[in-house]
Amino acid sequence: MIRLEKRPQPSQGWVIGGPILAVVLTMIAGGVMFAALGSDPLEAIRIIFWDPLFSERFASYSRPQLLVKAGPLILIAIGLSLGFRAGIWNIGAEGQYIVGAICGAGFGLAFYPSESPLIFPGMVLAGLLGGFLWSMIPALLKVYARTNEILVSLLLVYVAEAMLASAATGWLRNPEGSGFPGSRNLSRHPGTNNPELIDGTGMHWGVLAAFIAVIAAYVLMNRHILGYQIKLAGQAPRAARFGGVSPARLVLLCMGASGALAGAAGLFEVSGPAGQITIDFNVGYGFTAIIVAFLGRLNPIGILLAGMLMALTFIGGELAQLMLGLPAPSIQAFQGMLLFFLLALDVLANYRVKWGREAAA
C-alpha cells in the first residue's frame, strides 16, 4: 500500500531534481511515441537534443537559432511567472504578443520610409504599450467586475487573431505588395529592423531584453518588497491581505508586466526573425511560454534554462521533420508530455512516499 505524507517544507532536492527527471521521462515516453510513428526512437531523440548543437552538418545553422527561439519564450515566461507566483493566471500571452507586434509595427510603418534611429526605440515602446493595454482588459475586469482572468485573457487571444488577420490583409498591408497579404518587410528596412547584434549568434535586441528581464525578475523576487508580496499573495492570500498587500494592485502589476513583456516579444519577433506582419506570424510562443514558466519552476534562472531547452525542442523538432519525416504536431505533443511529467513529479517535492499501512495513532 502506497501512502503520501505531506512534507512540512517542499524538498529542495526534488524541486531541482523534478524537472531533470521530467525531461528524462519525456525523452523515454517521446521515444515510444516516435517508435509508434515508425522512426528509430534513439535517432529521433539524438536529432532533437544533440544534432542542433553538435552535429557538423547542422550546428552552424541551428546554434544561432537557439537564442532566436529562446529569446521570446524567456521574455514572455518571465512576465507570466510573476503572476503565476501570485495566483494570477494570465494565459492570453499569445494575444498580447500579437497586439504588441501590431502596435510596434504600426508605429514603425507610420513613419515609413524614415530611417531615423529614433524609430526602433519608439516601436519597442509601442510594442510594450500594446501588450500592456491588451492585458489591462482582463486585469481591470478582474479588479472591478471580479471576472475570471483565465477565461477573459484566453478569449482575447481569438479577438487578437481576428485583428491580426484584418491588419495583415487590410490596414497594414504592403501597398507595394501587389495585393498579397502581409505588411512591408520591417527587417529589411534600416530604421525599423531588429538586426543580429553579433554575427552568427542569433543575438538580437529581444534576446538582450530577455536576459535583462531575467536579471530584473531575479532582483525583484529576491531583493524587493514587491517580490515578497507576490510570493506571499500566492502562498497565503489571506495573510497577505491582513499584511496590507492590495490584491487589486498585484493583479494590475502582474498582468501589466506580463502583457508588456509579451508585447515587446511580439515586436522584436516581427521586426527581426519573422520580418513582417502576416496572418500567421505568431507560432504559439505565448502558449509554449506557459510550459517554460512551469519547467523553470517560476524561478528566473530556471526559466532561462527552460527557455533554452524548449527552444532546442523547437529546432530539433524542425530537424526531425526534415530528416525523419516526423509530422510537425508530434513536437507539440512532446512538449505537452513534458508538462505532464513535470506536474506529476511535483508530488515528490511536496509529499513523502511511504510504503505499508499507516501506524495506528
Binding site: L154, M163, F287, I290, Q332, M337, L343, A344
Partner: protein, 307 residues
Amino acid sequence: MIIDPVTLIVALVTVSTPVLLAAIGELVVEKSGVLNLGVEGMMIMGAVCGFIAAHETGSPTLAFLAGMAGGAALSLIFAVLTQFLMANQVASGLALTLFGLGLAALLGVAYPGQPVPDVAKPFPEAIREIEVIGPILFSHDLVTYLAVALVAAVWLVLTRTRTGLIIRAVGESHDAAHALGYKVVRIRILAILFGGACAGLGGAFLSVVRVENWIEGMTAGAGWIALALVVFASWKPGRVLLGAWLFGGIAALQLRLQAAEIGVPVALLDASPYLVTIIVLVLMSSDRTRAALNAPAALGRVFHASS
C-alpha cells in the same frame, strides 16, 4: 439583406450543440469541486477520434463512441494528475489543452478532406418539412436532442437524487464528505471522466456532423467558451442551455452577416462570439451575491485525506 429567422434558429441549435455538450459535462465536474481547464483539449481529441472512426468504419454510432472515448481517455490523465498526484488543477488543465491540441493534430495528419458517412436524421422527412415547426423542432440530429435531454438529466440528477447530493457535497466540502465516508477521489474521477466523454462527444459532433471534415485546431476556442458558459450559468444546468443558444445565435448570425457583406468589418464579426462571451461573463460575475452563492465552495482545491 434578408436573414431567414427559421434557418437562423436551425443553425443556432446546430452551432450550439458541441459547446452545450462540453459545458454540461464541465458543469458536473465543477459541481464535484474540480476545475478542469482542459475542455478545449478533450473536445479536439473527441473531434479527431470521432472523425477517424467515422471515416474508417463508416458508422456514425461508432464515431460518437470513439469521440467520447477519446475525450474520456485524455481526461483520465488529468484525473490521475490532480486526484492521485495532487497537482495544481489550473496548470494540469492547461497542460491537457496544450497536449490535446498537439496529439489531435498528430493523429489527424492524414485525415483532412477525407469523406465521412452522412448521419441519418431521427425524424422522417414528412415531419421535417412541416412549415416553420418542422425545421425548428424536428430537423436536427440525434446528438442534438441527446444534448438537450442530457441537460435535463443532469439537472434532475443534481437536484433531485441522492447521487446528485453526494456530488454536490463533495464539491462544497470535501473534508466533510470524506468524514461522512464518501470516496471523494473516486467520485471526482468519475465526474472528470463524464466531463471528458461529454466534451469528446461535442468534438465528434463538430467534426463528423457540423463541419464534416477534420481541420487542425478546428474547435477554435469552443472549449474555452464552454468553460465561460458554466460561470455564466452560475452552475445551473438550465442556464447552460440558454447560454449555449445565445452563443450559437451570435455565431450563426455573424456568419450570415459576413455572407451578406454589410458594412461591418469582418474582423469584428469574427471576434463577436468571443467578445459577447466576455461581455456576458462580466455582467454575470459583477453581481457579487449571485456569483458567490453558486460557485462550489471547494472548486479547484486539492483534497488530501490526512486520516
